[in-house]
């Protein structure tokens, strides 16, 4: 039978290579002899196994068994089949309880928390209504997530409490599990709030950017004063009393990317259970990285990967969210046909009850997809997603990372392409190199026999 190659990517190692099936996301380690056979034959568009001489034929037959050689004409094509977004019930709601903030972070994509409009708070009745909407529209989903977001959500505790209590009650009535998470700048935490968060097992992330001078440069208050010392004074109560892991959510500007490791160490030193680092979104040209800055960030991430590997030898996981998340996806071989859940079970509700595909797009009127009063407008969801993804499929078709990335963050693409006027694909190379760091680390961990540790990642991904 005549076969053709499934789209695959080879990552060279010192003694062999990693073989990655692009559409299945299966990962194999091959030795140099297999790699040599692969090199000999993978340039042939078609392979007739009957005409291959024995030593190579056995290898090619094994690769056929592993679906890397498939019957001619049956190789997968991109884009894959996709569901209509309206067929997917809600699983996650991000509620903008406060479109206002007491800080003025330099890189804020929400323009001081207000998302380009006047500062406003979500009223209690709308908060309850939104929580009901999440549960009512959740279909067969048994596990729901309510994310309390802002601005600074703790500026509006009445709405936080109302939304959490209503969602809990309605979810419990239907026997569904509810996870509540909250992202805060930490400046308003007090004993009463901590008590509420603990009582309702709210998973808290604190936005903190590292050592005092770095954090204060990024995250001043409205009067221009740094916020680090205020947060630190309130952090102890959260870290000591929380019944869920508390993560630090770091945002760094391109000029700060060389300091990832230092920031990570500082925050773990403060007692955070996990630290995730995000590059600031390029809301303006001065936050758009150049190639050298991207290289610096990749080197920092590669260095974190080496630390992850060293610690794994002791059976411990380096609590660096970026790598933990990526490794758990690679471990399972999860693929994506769409970039994220925006419009597919994920919905952001702003402080006025207006719907957006995701929290980062909130306030971008052109992408609004309905209101609490009228419900989700299916046509608006389709047109918003179409606006955000047009042309991406064609680009992804020739990319080995397509089933891991599926086009990347809608909002980042929107900023780069529509706000800054950069041609599509400007972050693809960075994304591929980051994914490669993860793939190489994963192969190394597996080869070193870190199976127990990887099983923990599996648990994380399935819960």
């Amino acid at each position: 039978m005549v076969h053709e190659w499934a789209d695959h990517q080879v990552f060279n190692l010192d003694d062999g290579a990693i073989l990655y099936d692009v559409d299945l996301a299966s990962l194999f380690r091959i030795d140099a002899s297999i790699q040599a056979v692969l090199q000999r034959w993978s340039c042939q568009p078609r392979v007739d196994l009957n005409e291959v001489a024995p030593p190579d034929r056995a290898v090619l037959e094994d690769l056929r068994d592993l679906r890397l050689l498939v019957p001619a004409g049956s190789a997968k094509v991109w884009p894959p089949l996709r569901c209509d977004p309206t067929e997917i019930p809600l699983s996650t709601m991000v509620l903008e309880v406060a479109q206002d903030c007491n800080l003025r972070c330099t890189y804020c994509y929400a323009a001081g928390g207000a998302y380009g409009g006047p500062a406003r708070l979500l009223d209690v009745e709308t908060a309850r209504r939104a929580a009901r909407y999440l549960v009512e529209k959740s279909g067969d989903n048994q596990a729901l997530t309510l994310v309390l977001f802002g601005g600074e959500p703790l500026l509006n505790m009445p709405a936080v409490k109302a939304a959490v209590e209503e969602a809990e009650e309605k979810a419990a009535a239907l026997g569904k599990k509810l996870l509540v998470s909250l992202t805060t700048n930490g400046t308003l935490l007090d004993a009463e709030i901590l008590g509420f968060l603990r009582q309702h097992r709210v998973v808290v992330s604190v936005s903190l950017d590292g050592p005092a001078e770095l954090h204060d440069a990024n995250r001043p208050d409205a009067a221009g004063r740094g916020s680090y010392s205020r947060i630190l004074a309130r952090l102890g109560g959260l870290l000591e009393n929380s019944n869920a892991a508390v993560a630090a959510r770091v945002t760094l500007t391109p000029a700060q990317w060389s300091r990832c490791e230092e920031v990570f160490d500082h925050l773990i030193g403060l007692g955070f259970h996990e630290v995730g680092i995000a590059p600031a979104s390029p809301i303006s040209k001065n936050l758009l990285p150049d190639i050298q800055q991207e290289q610096v960030l990749l080197e920092s991430l590669a260095s974190m990967a080496r630390r992850f590997s060293r610690l794994a030898k002791e059976g411990r996981i380096l609590p660096f969210s970026n790598l933990v998340e990526l490794l758990s996806r690679l471990h399972m071989g999860q693929t994506k046909a769409i970039a994220c859940g925006a419009g597919y079970g994920y919905l952001a509700v702003d402080a006025g009850g207006e719907f957006y595909p995701c929290h980062r797009l909130a306030g971008e009127k052109g992408f609004a997809v309905g209101t609490l009063a009228t419900g989700v407008d299916a046509d608006r969801v389709r047109s918003s997603l179409a606006q955000l993804t047009t042309g991406k499929d064609k680009m992804c078709q020739s990319c080995w990372a397509r089933s891991l990335c599926a086009g990347g963050c809608h909002y980042e693409n929107h900023l780069r392409e529509n706000t800054l006027g950069i041609p599509p694909g400007s972050s693809c190379d960075f994304i591929r190199r980051w994914l490669q760091i993860g793939i190489e680390l994963y192969a190394e961990l597996r080869h070193a026999g870190a199976d127990g540790l990887l099983a923990k990642l599996e648990k994380r991904n399935t819960c």
């Binding site: 099936d21 299966s26 194999f28 002899s33 297999i34 068994d65 592993l66 679906r67 071989g333």
Partner: protein
């Protein structure tokens, strides 16, 4: 060393693909008639031979599908018929009486 040992499945998806291959072997085995010397795959057939049902007899060509058997025998004699023929094994055992020479007698076939 077997080539397979030089290819190590790393992640869960790779293991699943490997298991799929093993599963395929078992699926074929499940179709074997147990206790028969020839270990013939058994399948189903409708009125006409589809090429799936196999020659269960120890005659040549052993194990080929019946359509192939008919073609083989037909080519050797004077009755070659390049299309589906009624299934003479189970549903139409009298086929050869009704139509002993396909090229000449095909109009006599009146099977539903």
């Amino acid at each position: 060393m077997d080539a397979k040992q030089k290819i190590q499945a790393l992640n869960k998806k790779a293991e699943a693909v490997e298991a799929l291959t093993k599963g395929e072997d078992q699926a074929v085995k499940a179709l074997l008639e147990s206790g028969t010397e020839l270990q013939m795959p058994v399948g189903c057939t409708t009125i006409f031979d589809t090429g799936w049902e196999t020659n269960p007899r120890a005659t040549h060509p052993v194990g080929n599908c019946q359509a192939s058997v008919r073609d083989f025998m037909g080519c050797a004699g004077d009755c070659w018929w390049p299309a589906q023929t009624p299934d003479g094994l189970t549903n139409n055992p009298d086929y050869h009486q009704v139509c002993s020479n396909m090229a000449r007698d095909w109009r006599t076939i009146k099977y539903d």
